[in-house]
Symmetry: C2
Subunit: 238 residues, 2 copies
């Protein structure tokens, strides 16, 4: 399940991997910078993040065009087809991660002029760091065609979900105690949700890599630990 | 751009359309029932919605298996390939819509025991109705391979976004005025976000149908009117 014994990719397949690596790097960077813009309340950086999402979108279109051409031209066998379609799917998840980074950038812009002290930003930073680590791991797993590593990423998403749950509760409690913080807290709430969704897309990529390497699916029901949709914390407090 | 002159689909292509129609019907039903469960605070209905998401997931896997087999077996030309890959993409958007319905179901379950009067539920109902109408239209556009109709759906998503913006502001204001409503309001806030995302997936499907019929892309930058990520309503009120 690792690179040993795997012949190096050539031609279109190598080109496809190169575009994915570039998309992945950009998606990581977007997410990182969006959070920095949010933390530092830097509207200029936020604008930059929002603008550079186009680059990822353009790369996704490149992947689509290339994969279509490859299927038509190479008439790939089942393994090749699995590779090509898997890559198309990974590109689509990376594009969504870019969108989520862009959305964080917009939130950074919205609260840039806010004078209130940052609340619970440490919790959000922790989530972003974990999400970035997972994303980096899954991209490495793709490059190395390493199913075990993809599986590890897939299993670890529960950590991001757990952090999201606890941050969600803290933010809600904070809003209750200081209603004037509701505006900024809501942006952080949706920001945390964005990161949780980045985790979900990373998990999708892990599933795709696993399938691409092994030909079999990971269990369809990943343990899903985002409990916030079934939480009504206020009931105990009102 | 309509059915006139188009020969009826046969074999695998007909089968593919049949699965998509079934998925689409289920996704509509999920969304509808999830909202009813939320509105009526019906935990039993909510559980049912949550459970039946598996059916849509299974159909997506059917679509994937069939499309892979079709590409390998039929060696389709460019038009056929566009059709097959487009359908795969539509199935993926429908699966996501099912997930969003399931998430609404979980929120319905969370607030089922809540005694507080429902707030702003009329606004949410209006959003759901609009989203369901759009979803129905885009599925019809797919069945009829009607690019104009797909374009109309694509352009109309701005309406859902506008409703989401106004509901978002109202809910935030409500939370400010009555902090004890923060728990339930947050669920409605995320519920509204779910519907807004259903609208985005419907728009994706419209883009795919347009591409599938015409071979050319709709403009990559759809006018995106969800302004909530750049809104900080509280600044005027605190």
């Amino acid at each position: 399940m690792n690179m040993h014994g795997r012949p190096p990719l050539t031609g279109d397949f190598a080109q496809l991997d190169k575009i994915i690596a570039k998309m992945g790097g950009l998606a990581e960077q977007q997410l990182d910078l969006a959070f920095v813009a949010l933390e530092r309340r830097d509207p200029k950086l936020a604008e930059q993040v929002i603008g550079s999402d186009r680059e990822i979108d353009a790369l996704e279109r490149d992947v689509e065009a290339l994969t279509l051409a490859m299927i038509a031209r190479l008439r790939p066998d089942e393994t090749g087809l699995r590779h090509i379609l898997g890559t198309m799917r990974i590109a689509s998840d990376l594009e969504r991660i870019g969108d989520l980074g862009k959305n964080m950038g917009k939130r950074a812009l919205a609260i840039a002029a806010e004078q209130r002290p940052p609340i619970l930003i440490g919790g959000l930073r922790h989530m972003v760091e974990l999400a970035l680590g997972q994303l980096k791991d899954v991209l490495d797993a793709y490059t190395a065609r390493d199913a075990e590593r993809a599986y590890a990423v897939w299993a670890d998403d529960a950590n991001i979900d757990a952090m999201y749950n606890s941050l969600f509760r803290e933010l809600l409690t904070y809003m209750m105690e200081d209603p004037r913080s509701i505006g900024i807290s809501t942006h952080l709430l949706f920001g945390a949700k964005n990161i949780e969704r980045v985790g979900d897309h990373t998990t999708n990529i892990a599933e795709t890599v696993y399938f691409l390497v092994t030909g079999s699916e990971l269990a369809p029901d990943r343990p899903k630990l985002d409990e916030t949709s079934t939480t009504l914390i206020m009931k105990d407090k009102s």
